[in-house]
């Protein structure tokens, strides 16, 4: 642990600080968006968005390497693809009434297919693994700036629309009867999810991101009685698990993404078992 600390404060080695700081920063958006997404039961929609983000990553790498368009980084490509698929999915969930589930599943896979085709056309070898499962090597100082900017936007939207989102997540039909702009909120929430997914991409990757979006919320849900506290709890838990996971991955020399996700899962199982034991004890000796 001491060794990790020394590397962490080493002025010549800022990389490790960027990794930890980006984990903390991304957690803010994750806790907020995750709370909405989990309570609205749309984790699978976000799954489709996060996977189709690969299309944008592929496109950006292709343009960068083939045509030397430097400013289109995988981050911006991912952001573009994520927002585009969020818009498509929100239109699908409004206008396609039958077999919605299957259509969403198809978008999920098609996004990845497009990404892989672009990567195949990209000169040189690009390893898709680091985008799929995360690679802390992708984190740069520029990424930190982007994270701060996106955090501010997501925090602002989440606060301004909090009551509407809250009523919409609890009972969409009633919200419609109260003239809450449900269609708009649905699209906004999916776009926010897309942005959040892209923020965490370097850390946990677009496949593992779902777990880090939902597990902190599932853990926090065991303890809180209101949505605002659920958000706060999820933010703290997300910060905690990503920090512990990063430390673990450094110590054990394992990729960060999987270790972070397994850390969250272990905490969830522990909390669940703790509740179960408490319940059983209460039953035996009332």
């Amino acid at each position: 642990m001491n060794e990790l600390w020394h590397t962490f404060i080493d002025p010549n080695f800022p990389f490790l600080r960027y990794v930890f700081v980006s984990g903390i920063l991304a957690s803010i958006s994750f806790g907020i968006v995750g709370s909405y997404v989990v309570t609205k039961n749309m984790v699978s929609l976000v799954g489709a968005i996060s996977h189709s983000v690969l299309a944008g990553v592929g496109l950006a790498l292709f343009l960068q390497h083939r045509y030397q368009i430097g400013f289109i980084t995988p981050f911006y490509g991912a952001l573009f693809a994520g927002i585009l698929s969020a818009i498509i999915i929100s239109l699908v969930s409004k206008y396609i009434t039958g077999r919605q589930d299957a259509v969403i599943g198809a978008i999920w896979a098609v996004g990845m297919a497009i990404g892989m085709v672009f990567l195949a056309y990209t000169p040189g070898y690009v390893d898709p693994m680091s985008y799929l499962f995360g690679s802390t090597m992708l984190i740069t100082k520029n990424e930190i700036k982007n994270l701060i900017f996106l955090d501010i936007i997501i925090l602002a939207i989440a606060f301004v629309y909090y009551p509407q989102f809250w009523a919409y997540c609890f009972d969409e039909e009633f919200a419609r009867v109260r003239n809450v702009p449900v269609m708009f909120l649905n699209m906004l929430l999916l776009i926010m999810s897309a942005v959040t997914v892209v923020m965490m991409m370097p850390m946990v990757g677009i496949i593992l991101v779902l777990a880090q979006l939902s597990l902190p919320v599932l853990i926090a849900e065991q303890f809180v009685s209101r949505l605002s506290l659920l958000m706060l709890g999820s933010i703290i838990l997300c910060m905690l698990t990503s920090t512990i996971g990063l430390m673990g991955s450094y110590k054990l020399d394992l990729p960060a993404g999987p270790v972070i996700v397994l850390t969250s899962m272990s905490i969830y199982i522990l909390v669940y078992l703790f509740k179960l034991i408490k319940k059983t004890i209460n039953k035996i000796s009332p």
Binding site: F159, P163, V177, R178
Partner: protein, 269 residues
């Protein structure tokens, strides 16, 4: 289509036609989801402070009729007016109570918060004003749950949850209250309490409820709207076995707590 409204035997006085703008006015309305009409040539007037139950067999279109009144669905032909305006333009006057078991029970919210959701429309930021909270507490008092305002919504019983949703509908001070199956999934005692509460509310508001269980509601409501693709309105005291048989098919006994549902469709005409 007949429209028989008698005021003589009714316990509450129904305003006569022409008195005021009807709470609900439907003219020559047709509705379909795909090809076949679910509702055909519907003409219906429901007046202010009337207590009405919409009944009909499963699949008859009664819930569809309710959703049309809420402006959640649009008719292909004809008009629906709520106090003289389209439902989606007049939602401030409409209170809606869905079936509680459709809701996500693990959603973290207290009883008071659920009631506050009835005031959400223009609300922004986190805090609701003190007057909004006051209104929500008043609405909870009306449904007799004032003492439970800090309780978690998911910890309540079925009957209590239904009452919280009634408070959520009442908090915006609507003129008309629409219910989807208020007595489904609650026990007999809770059912009776609920109907007593609705009776009391109906002195000030127009209350319309969808029910498959005529036995219970017929003791309370003034008027029954029979739906089976077409719609007919009968004062409760004129409801005879013949009308019921026509609506539900022939193997029906008029007993309390439940009809044998048949999918057979019978028209009134």
């Amino acid at each position: 289509m007949t429209e028989r409204i008698t005021t003589s035997n009714s316990s509450t006085t129904l305003p006569k036609k022409g008195d005021t703008i009807p709470a609900v006015c439907i003219r020559d309305m047709y509705f379909t989801y795909q090809k076949e009409y679910i509702l055909e040539n519907v003409n219906l007037d429901i007046f202010a402070r009337e207590f009405v139950s919409i009944i009909g067999p499963n699949g008859s279109g009664k819930t569809t009729l309710l959703k049309l009144m809420l402006g959640l669905l649009q008719p292909q032909k004809g008009n629906i007016l709520i106090f003289g305006e389209k439902p989606e333009r007049n939602r401030d006057r409409i209170g809606y109570v869905p079936q509680y078991f459709q809701l996500d029970m693990s959603f973290p919210a207290t009883v008071l918060e659920v009631v506050l959701m009835g005031l959400v429309h223009k609300q922004q930021w986190l805090r609701f004003s003190a007057s909004a909270r006051e209104k929500a507490r008043d609405a909870l008092d009306i449904v007799g749950l004032g003492s439970l305002s800090k309780e978690m919504f998911c910890n309540l019983s079925g009957g209590q949850r239904q009452r919280v949703l009634i408070a959520r509908a009442l908090v915006s001070q609507p003129k008309i209250l629409l219910f989807d199956e208020p007595t489904a999934h609650v026990d007999t005692v809770a059912e009776k309490n609920l109907m007593d509460l609705l009776k009391q509310i109906s002195r000030e508001l127009t209350v319309i409820l969808v029910s498959h269980d005529l036995g219970v509601v017929s003791e309370y409501v003034d008027t029954v709207v029979c739906v089976n693709r077409t719609v007919q309105k009968h004062p409760t005291n004129e409801l005879t076995g013949a009308i019921i048989r026509e609506l539900y098919g022939s193997h029906i006994e008029l007993v309390h707590h439940g009809f044998i549902h048949t999918q057979e469709r019978h028209n009134h005409e």
